[in-house]
Symmetry: C2
Subunit: 411 residues, 2 copies
């Protein structure tokens, strides 16, 4: 039985084809630049060479047709017939307080997601387009929405409520939801394995530092707090998102510049973060190069981003009282030793001590390691995340009637 | 030589009369409900009974005339002639990036403050009104502005910059400024004394928890980071201010409700915080009573507020690397053991351990104590703040030509 997972962004669609019986990834790839003049697809099938192709692709439906065509191709595909695919799992950012866990999608569920687009303006519309397109291309199989927010349902009220007028919560669903849930579920469980501890007795702090970045305080194996909020804007400094700021800045800048609320939202989501500070870069590899060349803005950006991560580590350390391990994951977390060193350096008084050479050695994807010193009370791990695996398993569990928000798969 | 200090809020004016030569507070008091139908004044003169009076007081000028009349009164006053007052020190919230330290006020300085009203809408206009009124009533003496922000000038860029478009900083002065500076200066120095350490080698975390509340990370005796930001809205949960939220909530709620930016600003400053959560209380004494009676919203409010303080303690602990002491000050910090217990309880893994009975015993103003256990690595102090003393000394130092932002008075 084969499960296809899809993670649709506004201009990209990541896919993975998984053979449930063999527990094997058959193929994995991405379509990029959807809606632009020229798009391209990459596909890495198991035991075959990587395939790449350019072509026009003006919407998500075309993208998904392209994906299906590619994975079915005799030479560079990974399955033989389309009906081998028994279910599709879609990543969905936001279900508000209505869809709180992964679920089989029907028209009603799609309507709910659509009604919540304002809570995830960068992600939800694309997620929905992807689902609709995939349902059109693969109408015979169940489509499941795997929620980024499901993992975070265990947060206590004092962590998820804002100190805003109470009826903004009851009327407008203003609260902390949290995202990157599939990544946290996977890495939290892997951390327990590396620690040799029962997950239900494990406290970890996870730093998911990719283009989007957030952190999670995991208490007794469950989400206790997280840095992203009602939307994925709050918390850490990201590629183009500002993270935490004085909220009074919003009306102030609107008044000074005449910008509308929507324009302000765009500025905070797309023109801020690393891009705002440097006025040129979004990708942390460019920041690293800039720092190496003494570029002041790049140095400031790296200092700011890692200082924010360090402050959240301290804050979740205090929230949890006891911490077994700190985990780094996602692009930057997995591959950049400098970011990690700056984020946890100098925390010896909290029992956190890096092993410099192990840290430096860990700079590629797919390398799960412990980078703390042998005598570090708190372990520091690099754990490559596997969101697709969790999506696949959620999808299987939904079809199998065994799903709960902390699916008991062992990673 | 006598120095008068004034701390003018929108509807109140706190005053203190200080004899510099005798190092003695001659009188201290407050005018409340300025601009309402009936106002009242309280004055506690040295070695005399407290005096209280009601009367009409429609603006700050009338308030200051009332103060002068009161402190000159034969029976319940504290000085004999008005010309004993040689200078007036005024608390001023915000000088932006222009007035960065305490300064003698002239028309030009007032114009600068006026141009910055938007950065401190709840405070600056009242501060300016107070200065103008006092200059009219006491035209012969120098008036000094004692800046809340001066103490915070030592913050490094990675702590004071936001990850927003860089030109919002250069064009609109968007950065972290920090407030409660006089309180931090005083309590940081007292903490060094209690620790028996050189202030320049002392790291402390100060929790100023009054109606307005903020925290400060002090490194080597100087401000390294603070929770309030461009305005006093950011950071901790306060009486009616929300503190940290997802900034995306601002445009979202504006769109959902049709509120303007100014209305949103008011909602976040005046209808949020403890008031927003409980929908009835601002004063933490009411929250305490509510908690004692099992009121769910009051319990939530206290949980949220102290959880936020705890997270900031962790965050500044990480930022500083090493912490000598945690200091509680201002109304709630000085007088409520429950808030303190909830804020630092469970932090033994960070070397912080309260002495429960000492903590409980410390519940009145004017009682400087150590409330940590004898074997606590990090000391916990309650230090009653004395902002008026710092204001007085800044004023004296300005007249004397010896002022710097970390005036070398020993407290
Ligand atoms: N060697 C590296 N050093 C620093 N950053 C890197 C490195 N490799 C990748 N990155 C960063 O990782 C980010 C992408 O992270 P990833 O988790 O793959 O993305 P996403 O958040 O979009 O899922 C890129 O923006 C890039 O800045
Ligand atoms: N015993 C107490 N328990 C809890 N809170 C108290 C107590 N006494 C005073 N407070 C709180 O202190 C706050 C005032 O703090 P203070 O530092 O005096 O004020 P401000 O911030 O206005 O200068 C009040 O809002 C009140 O909630």
């Amino acid at each position: 039985m084969v499960i296809l997972t899809l993670n649709c962004g506004s201009s990209s669609a990541k896919f993975q084809v998984y053979d449930w019986d063999k527990k094997e990834v058959l193929g994995v790839g991405i379509v990029e630049r959807i809606g632009q003049e020229m798009s391209n697809i990459e596909h890495k099938p198991l035991n075959k060479n990587e395939f790449e192709e350019s072509g026009p692709c003006h919407d998500h439906k075309v993208a998904i047709e392209w994906i299906i065509k590619t994975i079915l191709n005799k030479d560079h595909g990974c399955i033989e017939k389309i009906d081998e695919i028994k279910a599709v799992g879609h990543r969905v950012l936001h279900g508000g307080e209505i869809v709180k866990q992964s679920t089989v999608v029907d028209e009603e569920v799609l309507k709910v997601f659509e009604s919540l687009n304002h809570l995830g303006p960068l992600h939800n519309p694309a997620n929905i387009q992807g689902i609709r397109a995939a349902m059109a291309v693969l109408p015979e199989v169940p489509h499941c929405a795997v929620m980024d927010t499901a993992w975070h349902q265990t947060m206590p009220a004092h962590a998820f409520m804002y100190a805003l007028p109470y009826d903004w919560y009851t009327k407008y669903n203003v609260r902390r939801y949290g995202f990157h849930g599939t990544s946290y579920l996977y890495t939290a469980k892997r951390a327990s394995v590396l620690l040799g501890k029962d997950p239900a007795k494990t406290n970890v702090i996870i730093c998911h530092i990719g283009n989007g970045a957030s952190m999670c305080a995991v208490k007794d194996g469950k989400c206790y707090d997280t840095s992203m909020g009602m939307t994925p804007l709050e918390g850490l400094i990201m590629g183009s998102r500002c993270g935490d700021i004085d909220p009074a800045i919003v009306p102030y800048i609107m008044k000074e510049t005449g910008m509308s609320g929507a324009e302000m939202d765009t500025a905070m989501n797309k023109k801020s973060g690393i891009l705002g500070i440097t006025e040129k870069f979004v990708d942390r590899r460019d920041i690293q190069t800039g720092c190496d060349n003494g570029d002041e803005r790049c140095i400031l950006a790296m200092e700011m981003e890692t200082y924010r991560i360090k402050k959240y580590i301290g804050s979740y350390y205090a929230a949890l009282g006891h911490v077994d391990a700190i985990v780094f994951t996602a692009g930057v977390g997995e591959m950049n030793p400098n970011y990690r060193e700056k984020s946890v350096g100098g925390l010896e008084s909290m029992g956190i001590k890096l092993d410099d050479s192990k840290n430096k050695a860990s700079s590629t994807r797919n390398c799960e390691t412990c980078i703390s010193a042998d005598d570090s009370e708190v372990k520091v791990f690099v754990i490559p995340t596997d969101e697709e695996l969790v999506m696949t398993e959620d999808t299987y569990a939904l079809m199998n009637g065994t799903y709960d928000i902390h699916t008991n798969y062992t990673y």
